[in-house]
Each structure stands twice: as structure tokens, then as C-alpha cells.
Symmetry: C2
Subunit: 434 residues, 2 copies
């Protein structure tokens, strides 16, 4: 490997230091040149004085922005410089020269519109602001995964291509699978459940869900990164909410201590409440919206986007960015448990975070006879669900789980206008490239 130190790890010492990265900015003040080098950890100012190093001055004259260079020299404390140090080089090697017609501004926070930035995403991610989003995203995922690992959850991988028919609907992407028709998976729900039944009693999966909806909102994309979790031997859906809450709280806590640089760059103030996340019923949510905001969501069985945003505001003002809404009057999904005379109408919950639905979960129906009945009631073909019903027929513990949208979580943490900004190469009805 080429010898070099990441900029953030540089410490002034007796010996020389080598850094490597892209030329972020060049300033020539006549007699003295400043070259700002950027690597993935930070930026370092390289100082070339004409009278000391005429050969290097000529080389800097030929440098262009985004050239890839390796610079070796003495690191000196300089409080006014970015990172508090400056490098006085003895050697500067150009590893690759960049083209000069950059399609996007990287060095300055110029507001190119989102579409242009996504069209040139491989350039856009060079800007320190965009880079911070993905560094943050990586840390969110690391923290969530570590929570589940530490709690003895097993990571599983379920298929992307699935048989057509099992879940109907226009929201599925058709795939030509050899001589058959297949679809891209909308959710690992059925696989998660048969695995819990088979003894994978605490599992999680970081996977991709595909939705072919023709949306045009700031909350939707066609390829969605999901954290899916399922666990057995629960008492009820509150156990599932406990897991959701503890894992999210852990991730947020970790970010506060380990992503300080990213949060600062993104100008985000991350509050993590010490109090439990509120758990309000669907009816309480509707009542609160009516009383506090005079807002009544049109569909009596659901909350609308505005309602979710207002609930978010209401609880945020009370120091609570996250709130569970528990129990919905009508259960749309056959696999969720619908308990007669239960304290709430169904054992479903949604998690709102800063006013956006991030996650949906609940206790599942593990009685196969009741499950069959509910599927028939909903007009589903039992033959399409053979592996699912078989998997649950041979001893299934009471279980539940949730699916958390990672893209939306990053959107909300980083306070981004649009969920596609939280994804390296997003997909939506109008975007299939890059």
C-alpha cells in the first residue's frame, strides 16, 4: 500500500507526514500558495512558499481542483488552519489529474437542485456536506446492528426474487425469471415468520424492499433499505415496541458520541429523550389532532401525512421526537393479530419519529387456523402461501416484529428535505440512473 496517514489522524511529530487525497481548493497569494487537500476524514492545508521551494511552486501552478495527490512534509501546528495544522511539503506527487469541467460545485455550499446533484451523484458525494450524510448513515447502521448482535439476534438473508401471486397489487416490480414471471420482494415478512417458527427466534435482516408505486412525495423511493426484525416468545406487541425503542435509543445515543463531526457539519441538534417514548392509542392520536390542531384525517381508519407531522410537532415540543401510535380500528394485514376485546383494537403499532412514520410492527397471528380464515376472508389464494402456512403449522411461538425504514431514519436524523438525499444512488419512478 502507498504510505499515508488519514488527515484526521495526523499529529505534528518529529518525522515527516504523508497525506493523500483530492485537491479541494487552491489559493495563490503571490509568493505563497495554499492547497487544501481533502480525504474522507477531513481537510488539510498545504503551504508552499515560492522562496523556499520554487520547484514545488511550479508544480502547484499546474494543479487543478480534484487532482489526486500525495504530499509529504512537516506538519506544523497552525490554529487558524482547518484541523489546526498545516503541512509544509518536501514532495508533491500527482497520482491522477482531474478533468476541468466539474459538473457540480463541490468546495462551496452552492445550492444545485436535488435532481442535478443526483444526476451527478458520484461528484456530489465529494462535497463535505453530502459526504457527512453517508458517514452518518454508515454509523446509524453500525449502531443498530451492534444492538441486535449484542442482544443475541441472528442476521438472516431472505430472497429478492419471489414467486408472483403471493402478494398481489400494482406495487410489485415484475421480473422475467427464466421462462416464468416473478416479482421483486416487497417485504421479508413471510420468511421472517417461518424462520421464527423454525427456531430463529430472534432475527434481523438489513435488506431491500421494492415498491413500484407511482408516488411523487418526499418520503418515497422505489428501492427501500429496511431493517426487519422478528422475535418469538413475546407476551404481546409491547415487547416488540420495547425492542424497537431500545435499539433506536441505542443508535441515537451512539451517534451523539460517535458522529459529532457529521452532526456538526449537517447542523443537526440530536436530542435523545431519557423518558420512555410515549405510546398512545390510535383514538388518543385522533382526539389530540382534533383538540389541539382542529385536524381530522379523512380516512377514519388511518392517520394522514399532515396528522403524523402535527403529532410529531406536538411531542417534539414536549421533548419527545419519537412516539408510538398503537392499535388501529381495522386490521389490513392478515398476518397481524386481531384480538377480540383487547385493550386496543389490534396489536399493530407505528413509530413516528419527528413526525414521519419510520416503522410499522406488531404481534403476528400464530394460530394457523385463524390465519387461514383471515386470509380467505381477504380473498387470498391459500395455495399461493403454501410454504408460509406449512412453515407455521409445526409449532410456532407467539411472535412479532417490525420493519424500520433506514432511508427515512437517516432523512429524519440528518433533517433532509427528501428521502432520496439519504441514499447513495436512489431509485424512483423517474430515476433509474446513475
Amino acid at each position: 500500500m502507498q504510505d499515508r496517514t488519514y488527515i484526521d489522524d495526523c499529529e505534528p511529530t518529529e518525522s515527516t507526514t504523508t497525506i493523500a487525497g483530492h485537491v479541494h481548493e487552491i489559493r495563490d497569494l503571490g509568493g505563497i500558495q495554499f492547497v487544501l487537500i481533502r480525504d474522507r476524514t477531513g481537510r488539510c492545508q498545504v503551504v508552499v512558499k515560492d522562496d523556499e521551494h520554487p520547484a514545488l511552486t511550479d508544480r502547484v501552478d499546474d494543479l487543478g481542483r480534484e487532482d489526486v495527490v500525495r504530499v509529504t512534509g512537516d506538519l506544523v501546528v497552525a490554529e487558524q488552519a482547518p484541523g489546526g495544522v498545516e503541512l509544509f511539503p518536501d514532495e508533491l506527487v500527482v497520482l491522477d489529474a482531474a478533468a476541468t469541467d466539474l459538473p457540480l460545485e463541490i468546495a462551496k455550499a452552492v445550492d444545485a437542485d436535488r435532481s442535478t446533484r443526483l444526476d451527478h451523484r458520484a461528484i456530489d458525494v465529494r462535497s463535505p456536506e453530502t459526504r457527512a450524510i453517508f458517514s452518518l448513515r454508515s454509523k446509524v447502521i453500525v449502531s443498530l446492528r451492534s444492538w441486535f448482535r449484542d442482544a443475541a439476534y441472528e442476521e438472516v438473508e431472505t430472497p429478492t426474487i419471489t414467486a408472483a401471486g403471493a402478494e398481489g397489487g400494482a406495487e410489485l416490480f415484475p421480473v422475467v425469471y427464466y421462462d416464468r414471471e416473478a416479482v421483486l420482494s416487497q417485504s421479508p415478512q413471510l420468511y421472517k415468520q417461518v424462520l421464527v417458527a423454525a427456531g430463529f427466534d430472534r432475527l434481523f435482516e438489513f435488506g431491500t424492499a421494492f415498491r413500484a408505486e407511482a408516488f411523487a412525495t418526499s418520503r418515497h423511493v422505489s428501492e427501500i433499505s429496511m431493517l426487519d426484525v422478528e422475535l418469538g416468545y413475546i407476551e404481546d406487541h409491547h415487547d416488540v415496541m420495547d425492542v424497537q425503542e431500545a435499539s433506536l435509543r441505542h443508535a441515537l445515543d451512539e451517534l451523539r458520541t460517535r458522529a459529532d463531526r457529521e452532526l456538526t457539519r449537517l447542523d443537526v441538534d440530536l436530542t435523545v429523550p431519557t423518558d420512555p417514548f410515549p405510546r398512545i392509542t390510535f383514538e388518543e392520536a385522533r382526539e389530540l389532532l382534533a383538540t389541539e390542531y382542529d385536524h381530522e384525517p379523512e380516512d377514519p381508519t388511518d392517520l394522514d401525512t399532515r396528522g403524523e407531522r402535527l403529532l410529531g410537532e406536538y411531542f417534539a415540543e414536549r421533548g419527545q421526537p419519537a412516539v408510538f401510535v398503537v392499535g388501529y380500528p381495522e386490521e389490513k394485514f392478515y398476518y397481524r393479530q386481531d384480538v377480540p376485546d383487547d385493550e386496543i383494537a389490534s396489536r399493530k403499532f407505528d413509530l413516528l419519529y419527528r413526525g414521519l412514520e419510520l416503522s410499522s410492527g406488531g404481534q403476528r397471528e400464530h394460530d394457523v387456523d385463524r390465519l387461514r380464515e383471515r386470509m380467505v376472508e381477504r380473498g387470498l389464494e391459500l395455495a399461493d402461501f403454501e410454504f408460509y402456512l406449512e412453515g407455521l403449522s409445526y409449532g410456532t411461538p407467539p411472535h412479532g416484529g417490525f420493519g424500520l425504514g433506514i432511508d427515512r431514519l437517516v432523512q429524519q436524523i440528518a433533517d433532509l428535505d427528501h428521502v432520496s438525499e439519504a441514499i447513495l444512488f436512489p431509485r424512483d419512478p423517474g430515476r433509474l440512473a446513475p
Copy 2:
């Protein structure tokens, strides 16, 4: 959560213990009953004596295999029992009764054919042998990921659905993407490279690659789990091999210490050589095959399956399960570096592990002009690669990487006949479900 202890964590104490799981086996010796309970960590023998607990005896009479139960009682050391303990219950609760027509034998190692096992995979994974494969697989992935995390690699996520045209060939699965034609990603290669160019200079991705080939071998599936790695600021492809070797060695070492139970159950003797993995040139490999085995692969620019297997045997006999074959006379992939008068013909390598190609990698071409030339020579439409060429045009460090097949790695470690046995729900030309 329902109170219980995983079987492997059970220790005889003064207080009572609760376990939960599936009924694996029942033996009734008249007056005394033995019920073997299975959870994901192990099996525990529950002993019910008729004269002590007539009520429990009746309950055990009604038990069936695979019923889900929770059992509370006193744990007693019993050296002859599995796990060295027995549980004398005060309470036995049936949480879910299983159907009685199990489609597969779970408790005894009966050799159902592979196809039947995969047809009923959710049942098959209940058998301790199959379960051990997936516990091992999970540990392989954990160990690999931890190596890359510790070495400051960033995890990225690239898209599954990509524009048709960029990579031609019959091996692509077509997707109907709204009103357009798209394909499932065959490799994150282009994305990895533009990200390295953009400053993600050490990255990895655990992703899925899709191959629509109509194969019928023991090494191929249609949905492939890959670990893709790319790194910048390399000297040459040997740096990439160093990373490949160190990460794989770490994973194998970890398994030896942390997957003892799984390796024992699968009857696998895992040798991890302390010597460096041999790196032989393509010509040396051909010569060795000719001299030692009188075998000459038909295609003069490649090794064949038999050749790989024989090389594997040759090095395994010398204590080396892994070997790199470096340099191929003709470079098929435009993105790999082809260095004139290089010590070897191209900067490509393959990693063979126990005689199977697990990984392929090399140094990439980072000179965009040369890259364009090579793409045109190969008849590619540059317009289809716009984002790739743009991404590499603005300063790209020398870089390289590899793609490691996780399914094959697990196949080879666990010594499985067929790669689909290493996958929970595999996909091949004949299999789209479960």
C-alpha cells in the same frame, strides 16, 4: 417478554429454570418420560416421573413432536444427558401445538434428497445439522465484517435495479421498471469504482448479485451473496490480495475459536495455514496441472473446473487450502488493468479455496482515456457508461478490489455438496420458491 433461558446458557442453580422451544423427541419408558426440548442453542432433556407428577405425565402423553412448550423446573447435573444436565419440571405449558404430518424428518439424520429439503426449507432448517450451517454462515459474515470495520472500511449500499444496456448479455434478469426496461444488478463494480474515486477510498458491501445463466452445476445459483471490496491508493494488485488474504484468514481463525459447536456438528476440520497463501502465476498453474496431473484445460486463456479442483488438491496436500492464481493472458474485463511488460500479463487474480474459485479481483484501470479506448475496442457504447466515466474523470486514485462469493465460501468451509445448501432460500433456474 416471556421469561426463559437459552439452553446453552443454563447452569444448575438453587432456583428454578425456565426453558422454551420445540419438542424434538419424546421417549416414554413407562413410569418415566423423557422429552428433549430444542432451542436455537441446543437441546435439553426434561424428565417426568409418573409417581412424582401424574398431572405432568398426562400432559406429556398429549405432547407431539415440534409442539412449542415452555418448561420450568429444577436443573440437575446428569452427565449422560445431552448438554450434561436434565430438567425436572414443575410446570409445562404448550404455547402452540404442531401438526402431526411432518413433511421431513428433523430429529434423525435421514438423507432426504436436497430438492425435497429445499422444497420444505422452513422445516428443514429445524434439523440441528442444517441449523449449524446457518449459524456458521452468520459467524462467517460477522467475522468478515468485523475485519473490514476494524480496518476502517466503510460499508456502502448500491442499487439492485439498474439501467439496461450498461452490461449486455443473456445473463441478466429483465425487470419492468414503471414504463421502462431495467435489469437486476450483476455486480456493484461500476458503483464501487466511482465511489473510490469520490473519496470512499476503502469500502465494502455485502450485496446480492443476480445471474440469469441456465447452469446446472453444484457451484451456481441465480441470487448470489457477495462481499465486494474496493480500495484506493494501492501500489498494485498484490495490495488487494493482501486484504483478501488477511480478511479471510481472520474469518477462518474466528470460526475455529467461535464456531466450535457448528464445526463439530458438521464434522469439519478447519485448517488455517500460518504460512502466506501461495501466489502462483497462471502459467505456473497450467504447468503444474500438466506435470502433476497430465491435465491441460481446453481454453488456453483460462483454467477449467477440473483444473481448479486439482490445484486445490495439490495445495491442500501441502497444508494450503487457499491459493491465488495471478495474471491471465487475456483480459476480458475492460475495467481491469492491463500493464504492458508487466511481470504478469494482467493485474487480475482469482482465489481458489479448497479447489473452488471463491473470489476474483485485481487492480483497475484508473486512466480514463485508456479505459475509453478499451471499452471502444470491446464494442461497448460509451453513452451507456456515462456516470461511470464521469465519476472516474475527476481525479481517481490507483485502486483495486475483489468480489468474494459468500455462498461458496460457506459451501467450502462446511464441506457441502451443493452451494444451495449454504443458502436459506436459494434461487436457481428450477427454483423460485419457497
